[in-house]
């Protein structure tokens, strides 16, 4: 159907507010799609929503987009759709969709409120690449008049760390950019490590930008606290056993998946951090230990 229009809408949403998570943009797109849908049956509606989500993951292959899409579908169809008239059903679904969107727009603020208290005055923080949630948390902490300094990894191949450093400098936070290879050497200087996540998996581990796993291993070796901040729509029903077990469709960017001949020559953009290396996860559902993530997932999905 209107796939091109969908993708366009998604891109405009992303462009409009660069601070918004790609998953939120995806949900806005899906909601718009729902409003415009001309289908006659509920089943057909579900099918077209699923295919729309697949289409969006073709544009942005991050884990968050697919998990957000699935959660959106579940959320709106959780109601008992007893109305005889399809348009009434659709109205109910649209209302629920708006509600869902509202809830997740607030989630970053909730996470920041929970996490900033864990940053003590005079703390030295290590973070990885550019994460908007971590930035939000550090903004809140700075607003609470806490003094802290930050080490950011450069995070090649896209040098997203520089973006993070620039944003932090605007907040008057002393920031140092370090090489990805320097993580092992820097960890002993810091008090805690805070990273974002692209997806939180069933085991309680996270999927995040490549380089997170070695940061987690180094901080475990030095017995440093390793915190993860993530919104609840990033919870996904995956259960990787090791790096190899992460599906290829998440490991590489969407364009790479389409265009490359052999994936073994491509560089993966994400890695998996097992739950044994994570101390706590901060989500809008609360502060969770990795083993509680499965509990929350069961509640969300079942």
């Amino acid at each position: 159907q209107d796939e091109g229009g969908l993708v366009e809408y998604f891109r405009t949403q992303m462009g409009k507010d660069p601070d918004m998570a790609s998953a939120v943009a995806a949900i806005r797109t899906l909601l718009e799609f729902l409003k415009r849908d001309q289908g006659e049956t509920l089943f057909g509606l579900r099918e077209s929503l699923t295919s729309a989500t697949d289409c969006l993951t073709g544009v942005d292959s991050s884990v968050a987009v697919s998990s957000a899409g699935e959660l959106f579908l579940r959320f709106i169809s959780l109601t008992s759709l007893e109305h005889q008239d399809l348009s009434q059903c659709k109205k109910v679904m649209e209302e629920r969709g708006e509600l869902f969107l509202q809830k997740i727009s607030m989630s970053r603020a909730k996470v920041a409120k929970l996490c900033h208290t864990f940053i003590k005055d005079g703390a030295k923080i290590l973070t990885h690449s550019y994460s908007r949630v971590v930035l939000r948390v550090l903004e809140k902490a700075a607003a609470e008049k806490k003094r802290f300094s930050v080490y950011v990894t450069e995070s090649q191949p896209d040098a997203a760390g520089e973006q993070m450093a620039a944003a932090l400098r605007k907040l008057d936070v002393p920031v140092t950019v370090v090489l990805d290879a320097a993580v092992g050497a820097v960890v002993e200087k810091v008090d805690l490590v805070i990273v974002g996540a692209e997806g939180v998996v069933e085991s309680g581990g996270i999927i995040n930008k490549i380089g997170t796993y070695q940061m987690a291993v180094c901080s475990k070796a030095h017995n440093k606290l390793f915190y993860v901040v993530a919104e609840s729509f990033k919870f996904v029903r995956l259960y990787p056993l090791n790096q190899q077990d992460v599906p290829d469709k998440f490991k590489y960017k969407a364009d790479t998946l389409r265009s490359s001949q052999s994936l073994s020559e491509e560089h993966p953009v994400i890695d998996y951090t097992p739950p044994s290396l994570i101390t706590l996860l901060f989500t809008d559902l609360g502060v969770l230990t990795p083993s509680a993530v499965s509990d929350e997932l069961i509640k969300l999905y079942l």
Binding site: G204, S294, I298
Partner: protein
């Protein structure tokens, strides 16, 4: 009725012993009579002891006149020292005891309890026995008042080295007319609280043929369990359920009885018998709980034939849903985790793991299997046979070679006997060893387990509750010589043949159940969800 029973008990008692010797099942009334007789006899004996103890006190204290009244015309059970100890009238028979228990002496406590029981019995004729058994299992002595919550006695608290518990067990089996199986051989001291039976002395040899108390299907099942003909968690549960189906088919409700209550009572001696043949597994325990619940939920207006068909359908559905369909759901999830080129390690013979691997090979996944085996059961050979028949290329090693093969292994698939509420996995002995070494080599360990094997028990070590198999199994004859032949004669030698061990959740990466893939720590969540469903 309670009072009159005591006085003409003498004649009834002869009747009862005669009937018992003929091997016929005692009627409910006769059983009640027998129980009351024994209880009053026990009380008489204890009263005499207390009387002697308190008589000396009385001499010192010049007690009030009520004490001197001879109790000759009263029942022998309600004697003066007991009345003295009870100050308030026991009329509110369900009255809660005073809270300052520790201050009183043990004899006074006993006396008070005795008096309260007598008062209860006097005020409520026909009330059946007391919740006495619960207070003697070594737990803090809670007076058996009706208002107090019943102390939950865990059936897994096997305490073979505690003679009181053994006596109680013997009495219970005698009441149900099931022979008591005696332990065999020297037991290693760390496990002396568990039963150890010999396979050469099955319980069925002590039964009279034909036994009218135990259904022949159950006798056969018990023999199959104790000889190891039916082994493996799923196989045992399915065999048990089929046997119960036959029992239900042959069941006839006696007159003036309700099917829902009488059938449960009929099943109790069968369960004790099977427990004596071989201790029940967690899966069997859950199945039995389910059946009992279904039976007691039968409405009383329901006709017998209808009820019987309903129960048989319930059992069929249980087997189909919890075992057969669960196996296909689990293999669907598990096959996602098997990729081409995998080297999979399995231990022993788990019907579920074999099923998964056979299905995966049918779906044309390319993998090979390493089967690890251990003495004395050598169950791996059966697994090897089944896998090779499906055309899967296998390697066979003994558990001592584990660290030699692990570098080439990509995944470990284990079956489970039960999953405990704190996330520990109870499985065949050797499983925790495999999980430990796999963890050291960073190989993912996957446990496959149906949800009906989840149990509420909590265990952190393999000693507290386990099973000891026949120690003679450890003897092996090589080149005509059996080294351990005379092990019974060597006083310091003990042979230990453990059946199960527990694996901590840190060594397990993933548990695959019919509800999906969950981490080992989420087992209590599943139990909670299941309880909500029921």
């Amino acid at each position: 009725m309670a009072d009159s029973g005591v006085t003409d008990g003498a004649e009834k008692k002869e009747d009862i012993t005669r009937v018992k010797n003929e091997g016929k099942e005692l009627s409910k009334e006769e059983k009640q009579r027998l129980r009351k007789e024994k209880k009053s006899q026990k009380k008489n004996k204890e009263k005499k002891d207390e009387q002697d103890a308190l008589a000396s006190e009385r001499e010192k204290n010049c007690a009030p006149s009520t004490l001197s009244q001879p109790a000759a015309h009263k029942e022998p059970a309600a004697s003066p020292p007991v009345q003295a100890a009870v100050s308030e009238p026991p009329a509110p028979a369900a009255g809660a005891p005073p809270a300052d228990k520790p201050a009183k002496s043990k004899a006074e406590l006993k006396a008070e309890r005795r008096a309260r029981q007598e008062a209860e019995r006097a005020s409520k004729p026909g009330k059946k026995g007391d919740p006495g058994p619960q207070s003697t299992a070594g737990k803090p002595k809670a007076p058996p008042s009706e208002l107090q919550p019943v102390v939950k006695r865990l059936p897994e608290h096997v305490q073979v080295d505690n003679p009181e518990v053994l006596k109680k067990l013997a009495k219970k089996l005698e009441r149900q007319q099931i022979p008591l199986r005696s332990d065999y051989g020297y037991k290693v001291s760390l496990f002396s609280h568990l039963h150890q039976y010999s396979r050469k002395a099955p319980l069925t040899q002590q039964l009279s043929i034909p036994s009218t108390v135990i259904h022949p299907v159950i006798v056969r099942l018990g023999l199959q369990y104790s000889q190891g003909i039916v082994a493996g968690s799923n196989a045992r549960s399915v065999a048990l359920l089929h046997a119960f189906k036959q029992v239900i088919r042959d069941y006839v409700t006696p007159p003036n009885e309700e099917l829902s209550r009488d059938m449960v009572n009929k099943l109790k001696p069968y369960i004790s018998f099977l427990n004596q043949c071989r201790p029940l597994s967690a899966s069997m325990g859950n199945a039995i709980k389910y059946i009992k619940k279904e039976i007691s939920n039968i409405p009383s207006q329901c006709k017998e034939e209808e009820a019987k068909t309903k129960l048989q359908d319930c059992i069929d559905r249980y087997i189909r849903e919890k075992i057969v369909l669960a196996a296909s759901a689990i293999s669907k999830y598990a096959i996602e985790k098997i990729s081409d080129g995998d080297v999979i390690l399995v231990y022993g013979c788990s019907s579920l793991v074999n099923h998964i691997l056979c299905e995966a090979s049918e779906k044309h996944r390319k993998f090979r299997v390493i089967v690890v085996d251990s003495r004395p059961r050598l169950e791996g050979r059966e697994a090897l046979r089944r896998l090779v028949k499906h055309g899967i290329s296998c390697t066979y090693v003994l558990i001592s070679a584990l660290s030699y093969v692990l570098p080439e292994v990509s995944k470990v698939f284990l079956g489970a006997h039960a999953l405990l509420a704190n996330g520990y996995v109870m499985s065949r002995v050797g499983t925790s060893q495999i999980a430990l070494v796999a963890k050291a080599f960073n190989v993912p360990v996957l446990v496959c387990c149906e949800t009906y094997k989840f149990c509420e028990r909590v265990q952190t070590d393999s000693f507290v509750s386990n099973e000891l198999d026949d120690p003679d199994d450890l003897m092996v004859t090589r080149k005509g010589k059996t080294q351990l032949e005379g092990w019974q004669q060597v006083s310091q030698l003990g042979l230990l043949n453990l059946v199960y061990d527990v694996t901590p959740p840190d060594f397990v990466d993933l548990v695959i159940t019919d509800l999906g893939m969950i981490p080992c720590t989420s087992v209590p969540v599943v139990l909670r969800v299941k309880n909500v469903d029921q």
